[in-house]
């Protein structure tokens, strides 16, 4: 099973590689950010085992004084995923987003959806009582309101069983 998986990954990687060479779209800034995300993120085993996908918004605000990006997570994020994204945050170059959107001033925050899609999803996730969809744009109980730069999702599909 493991060797089969490795072969599949190798084929996909090879395909992506040759594809990236031909298609300039895949060499763009989003692709760089996405490939860094996919390379470093490890979906928490606990969530994978429980078949709980992750859908939340990452609010990225540039701090001019500290010369760094501050991250906020919408209320639909699981604490384990917050921990995981914070672990890899230095591997994510958010300058790419501003470059991509050709924006010089960084006073307006960016909203980037994080999507960890699972092949198999638990019933609880789609339960009518689930608050995921209602909390997508809420930060500490308050809905994000105002001007934002919206950006393409950083997505990963996990084949769980």
């Amino acid at each position: 099973m493991r060797s089969f998986l490795l072969i599949v990954i190798a084929i996909i990687a090879n395909f992506m590689h040759s594809y990236a060479q031909k298609d300039p779209e895949l060499r763009n800034n989003w692709a760089k950010l996405q490939s860094g995300f996919v390379k470093y993120i490890r979906y928490p085993k606990e969530l994978e085992k429980a078949s709980i996908p992750s859908f939340f918004k990452l609010k990225v605000q540039y701090d001019e004084k500290a010369k760094q990006y501050n991250l906020e997570f919408s209320d639909s994020s699981h604490p384990l995923m917050i921990k995981e994204v914070l672990r890899i945050k230095d591997k994510l170059d958010f300058n790419l987003v501003y470059d991509d959107l050709t924006i010089e001033k960084r006073d307006i925050p960016i909203i980037i959806p994080i999507e960890i899609r699972l092949a198999r999803v638990s019933k609880e996730f789609s339960d009518p009582k689930s608050t995921v969809s209602q909390n997508l744009y809420n930060f500490k109980g308050k809905q994000a309101f105002g001007n934002f730069y919206f950006y393409a999702p950083l997505a990963l599909t996990v084949i769980n069983d």
Partner: protein
Amino acid sequence: MIILYVMINSLYAQDKGKIDNFKKFENSFLRNFKYPAQLQERCIPVLTLMVISFDQSGKINSLSFSDSAYPQFIQEVQRVRDNIDFESLYMDLKSMGKENEKIIIPIQIDTGVIDECDSGILQFDLINLYLFDSKPLKGRYFLYKKILSKIFMARAIS
């Protein structure tokens, strides 16, 4: 056999303060909107992003929904569009100096048939929520308050 449909439209309590322009807009939206029966019978909720822009005179320039919106929902909004108080929305935006921005209004309307089914949001809906014609949302927008409601149907059979 008589089948009675009773619509229960319970608004989630959002702002309990004064009825502002947004509230007027939201109320007019929910009052005119009739939940498409095909979706309600199958307990399919509405979860979408509405993107709207106005021209200089306050008329709607463009109105679109993200890919998670079902055609029945879009048809219904088009049907009642002239009765929705977009003017109040425009006035609200104008008071903030945001009338020239592209506006995003998230919409979630849960539904169901009492004692039969209750709608839930699927992974598929969440993926499509952010796509417009299969392309992800990208660029500068003004994120506005959301429309959040529940429209249930009770079936009384005698």
